[in-house]
């Protein structure tokens, strides 16, 4: 009897102030960003563990790792206001095909004209202590001795490297060495708007070109390893993130 009373007491003492009301089925839909990975041009698919010749440096490169963060997705409504995707952190890892699809659910029904996203992880999450999910330190994308996320890891083998391999860990969220960059994609200028309808997934298709990392930074015969923020990391990261292109929307 008393035990029941206690149980009741603890339950009632924890009641949330807002009761969740079931959402009407047609009020939200979902939007996905689908990243394809290509080498040099749209005709050449990019995968791990395959050999590619770099169009600028002529290096022969075979990737074993290609991972990078995309975060803080936002969609601009036709009325000019922005919808912000909550807890919006994605680790794109070519070893895991499903990670190339960035899923936003519970997007309010409506027409969206623009997408905003960040390459990397915003400075706040770099200084806010232990995180979870895509930002879990167990993902091995965090510098322990100089706190901060590694925004991009590109590792592999190359006969052009003096060591036979290369390892680029690019990051930096503060000061002149910051490689954080926020990009905006306006749909109308390229294709149609994103139209979210109830219980339906709209797809935004984009293409990433890993070869862009060496667009201006030079051959792996000169530099085969970067493991901290700096000028060259910034050059490579900027070339890479500027090289992500919008393809089309599929409603």
């Amino acid at each position: 009897m008393i035990a029941f009373a206690i149980a009741g007491l603890t339950f009632t003492s924890c009641k949330k102030e807002e009761e969740e009301t079931p959402t009407a089925t047609a009020s939200v839909g979902s939007v996905s960003i689908n990243l394809e990975h290509k080498w040099e041009d749209e005709a050449t698919n990019f995968t791990l563990n395959a050999e590619y010749i770099h169009p600028v440096t002529n290096d022969t490169l075979n990737f074993t790792t290609m991972k990078y963060y995309i975060s803080n997705l936002k969609l601009k409504k036709s009325d000019g206001t922005w919808w912000t995707h909550p807890e919006s952190y994605f680790l794109v890892d070519l070893e895991n095909e499903s990670s190339t699809k960035l899923m936003m659910s519970n997007v309010p029904v409506g027409t969206y004209t623009e997408l905003s996203y960040t390459f990397g992880v915003d400075s706040t999450r770099n200084v806010s202590g232990a995180q979870t999910g895509a930002l879990s330190i167990a993902n091995n994308m965090f510098w322990s001795w100089n706190s901060g996320y590694i925004f991009l890891k590109a590792e592999g083998t190359s006969v052009n490297s003096s060591t036979g391999s290369y390892s680029f860990h690019l990051g930096g969220f503060t000061g002149t060495n910051s490689i954080l960059s926020t990009k905006n994609v306006v749909f109308l200028s390229n294709s149609t708007d994103v139209v979210v309808t109830g219980n339906h997934e709209s797809e935004i298709h984009m293409i990433t070109f890993p070869d862009k990392l060496w667009n201006t930074s030079g051959s792996v015969s000169n530099t085969n390893t970067i493991h901290m923020p700096g000028a060259m990391a910034k050059m490579m990261a900027n070339d890479f993130s500027n090289g992500i292109v919008f393809e089309h929307v599929h409603n």
């Binding site: 206690i6 007491l9 603890t10 003492s13 924890c14 770099n126 200084v127 806010s128 202590g129 232990a130 995180q131 979870t132 879990s136 330190i137 167990a138 091995n140 965090f142 322990s144 001795w145 100089n146 706190s147 901060g148 060495n177 901290m228 923020p229 700096g230």
Partner: protein
């Protein structure tokens, strides 16, 4: 009588239950009289337990982890191996500490105290949050040489830890986030505030004549960097140890030449027993340290402005400053059973 006592116990139990069930994640709520205590003369702490509300079970879990060798590659060393409570949470008076397989580190294991007030960690300030701090020693090949992924796997394979994490954080599966947050709670609770100096501040101890003169000398000659009551201003400075730097220190983090040879001004709490001193443990006595400041300063481009002509000190002044420095020894802290290795 007996019934009355058990009823009382029962109702305190309900009270605890209620407290637990209603805690919010963003505020410090005392649970079973367990709370963060800020000494009145300390500034506001830097770490506020945001998204990691302090509880007894979380603190206990962090303590278990701090003393557990499970964090290292071959289960040979724990945090406490190099941060021993009886040595002011520094290593056992060695310049460099042994990691797994006996490999030696490259910097002196610092004493831990009052970490909740630290804006950054390590001799070079490279770590920006007490929660992510533990990743560095766990993954450093010269220290625990383990991966976070592996540690989380080992913990999840351990039924006792699974139930402790369930009790502390209500998770069925242990994550690195919860492990790091629990360790953070224990480290943030390493509060040293019961030395003779603290008792003097609280009005329950009177300095001896030597300690008092030493205090005045300290205030005029040392306190601009070793600021009371934490005895550090948390800045990074080149204190003139070398003309040529074997270790770039802060410069490794900022990559600015202007920061080369700079290291964090260390806190002086428990300094008497946390020798050897400096980032490389080169001095074993406080006399050597004061001799360095009075006559041993080496000039270099990044030498701290305040040390260009050293700190002139007579032999008598050195003795008095050392008498004062010994008042920073906190035996209560070093014997506090709540911070000691748990007996299971």
């Amino acid at each position: 009588m007996k019934l009355f006592r058990s009823m009382r116990l029962f109702f305190s139990f309900i009270l605890v239950l209620l407290l637990f069930s209603c805690k919010k994640d963003n505020e410090i709520v005392p649970v079973d009289n367990f709370a963060f205590r800020k000494p009145s003369y300390f500034p506001e702490p830097h770490y506020t337990f945001q998204n990691n509300a302090l509880t007894r079970s979380r603190f206990n879990l962090g303590r278990d982890l701090f003393y557990d060798t499970i964090l290292s590659l071959d289960n040979s060393i724990s945090c406490a191996s190099c941060h021993s409570q009886t040595h002011g949470f520094s290593d056992h008076n060695v310049a460099f500490s042994a990691g797994v397989n006996g490999t030696l580190g490259v910097r002196n294991s610092p004493a831990l105290a009052n970490l909740a007030w630290y804006p950054s960690f390590m001799w070079d300030g490279g770590v920006n949050n007490i929660e992510t701090f533990s990743v560095a020693p766990i993954t450093n090949p010269l220290e625990m040489h383990e991966t976070i992924f592996q540690v989380v796997g080992k913990l999840n394979a351990n039924a006792a830890y699974r139930s402790k994490f369930k009790a502390a954080y209500d998770v069925d599966s242990i994550t690195d986030q919860k492990m790091l947050q629990a360790l953070g709670q224990y480290m943030a609770m390493l509060i040293s505030d019961d030395s003779k100096y603290d008792k003097y501040r609280k009005g329950t101890y009177t300095f001896t004549a030597d300690e008092n003169e030493g205090y005045s000398l300290f205030q005029s000659k040392c306190a601009s960097c070793h600021t009371e009551p934490l005895f550090t201003d948390f800045s990074f400075r080149n204190n003139g140890l070398d003309a040529v730097f074997a270790d770039l220190g802060r410069g490794l983090i900022t990559q600015e030449a202007a920061d080369n040879g700079k290291f964090r001004v260390p806190s002086l709490r428990n300094i008497q027993i946390t020798y050897p001193y400096m980032h490389d443990g080169r001095f074993f006595t406080l006399s050597q340290v004061l001799d360095h400041y009075s006559t041993g300063i080496q000039s270099s481009s990044t030498l701290d402005q305040s040390l260009t002509s050293g700190i002139p000190l007579t032999a008598d002044e050195k003795l008095k400053i050392i008498a004062f420095l010994k008042t920073l020894t906190d035996y209560t802290f070093m014997a506090n059973p709540d911070l000691s290795e748990p007996v299971h």
